[in-house]
Amino acid sequence: MSIPLRNTASRYGLISQLFHWLIVGLIMAQYFWAWRIDNVEGFRARLELVTQHKTIGMVVLALAVLRLLWRLINQPPPLPAAMVRWERWAAKTGHALLYGLIFAIPLSGWLYSSAAGLGDFWWGPVSFPSLVESSELLEDRFGVLHRALGLALAAVAGLHTLAALRHHFMLKDSVLKRMLPIWPKNEP
């Protein structure tokens, strides 16, 4: 069983699937890291977790850029013809929100870190500049924004997952399966 690199008319290719599931995994890890940051004791442990959380977030941002570029040169398979207008609108709006949040959350975190005066702390040899001057007022505001965007992503991703499950179990179409690394032998 081999999965083509590029998308086909009915399924997502290997590269699109890798981008999708890698970003999903990293974002889920980010929620776990955020919970650990809120509950850990000790300055050192917290600094290390925050540094890791920030670095993973920048990896997500980089993957989001690459994924968007790949989507521009490799169009996704069309939605099933049986989908009605509101379903198509919901699907497109949901995908647009997901893409927007995947960009907005790392950027808000970068601003949050910069305002908190922790802009220099990154995991590994990579370093990123501080986007704003250190300011407790901005730190508080970007912190609220970062958390609110995180909650928004959880809500939209939850709806996205429910929609995929609805397609699979209720409508019994291929919307979910076409993003899974399962390629039927009789399908090109």
Partner: protein, 204 residues
């Protein structure tokens, strides 16, 4: 003081700052001797900067002390042998982020509530290098130890500026207990730098 506002990160060198100030004052005396003999000069947080740099998890950080006083009295009109006293309010330290400031002022690092002041008192000031080398005693967290300070003096118009640097080993002064006593986490060496405009004590 605008430059100070750009600094950030954790710092541990209050006492070092005081030492530096004192050393700077000594160095300043050399040109000042042409003006007056056996005079005293002063500088503080409004007329100078006391900055420091360190490393946390291998990442550089910087900070400064806002509240400090330096008093330098020359002997026989020269900087060599001058007497220098520096006082630093440890609670005035900042590294530009609230988590770092809380940790730095907390009981494991500078413990500013128990030890609100660090001092440096010169014991000798001699010409050396491109300026002067001052030896003295730094008292930080009630621990007293020898601390050397390098001093330089420059004239800018009518003003005399003392600058200099020192390397403080924070763990010698118990600045770093608990999770902060690991030099792999917070580097032991803290680099202090200062830049002070000296004013005659009787200037008004």
């Amino acid at each position: 003081m605008a430059e100070k506002r750009t600094l950030n990160r954790v710092g541990f060198s209050d006492a070092i700052g005081a030492t530096i100030f004192a050393a700077l004052l000594v160095a300043t005396w050399w040109p000042l001797a042409a003006v007056a003999a056996d005079e005293c000069y002063r500088a503080d947080g409004d007329s100078g900067e006391l900055n420091f740099r360190g490393e946390a998890e291998g990442t550089p950080f910087s900070g400064f002390f806002d509240d400090f006083e330096v008093r330098l009295c020359t002997v026989d009109g020269g900087l060599a042998g001058a007497a220098i006293e520096v006082r630093v309010a440890t609670g005035s330290v900042t590294v530009g982020n609230r988590q770092g400031d809380e940790a730095l002022r907390g009981s494991d690092l500078l413990a500013v509530e128990q030890f609100p002041e660090a001092t440096w008192v010169s014991e000798s000031v001699e010409a050396g290098g491109d300026g002067y080398q001052a030896e003295g005693r730094l008292r930080l967290r009630e621990v007293s130890a020898d601390q050397a300070v390098n001093l330089r003096l420059e004239q800018d118009g009518d003003a005399w500026w003392l600058s200099g640097d020192a390397e403080i080993l924070r763990l010698e002064f118990n600045v770093g207990t608990g999770e902060f006593d690991d030099p792999e986490f917070i580097r032991n060496r803290v680099d202090l730098r200062f830049d002070l405009e000296l004013e005659p004590e009787n200037a008004g």
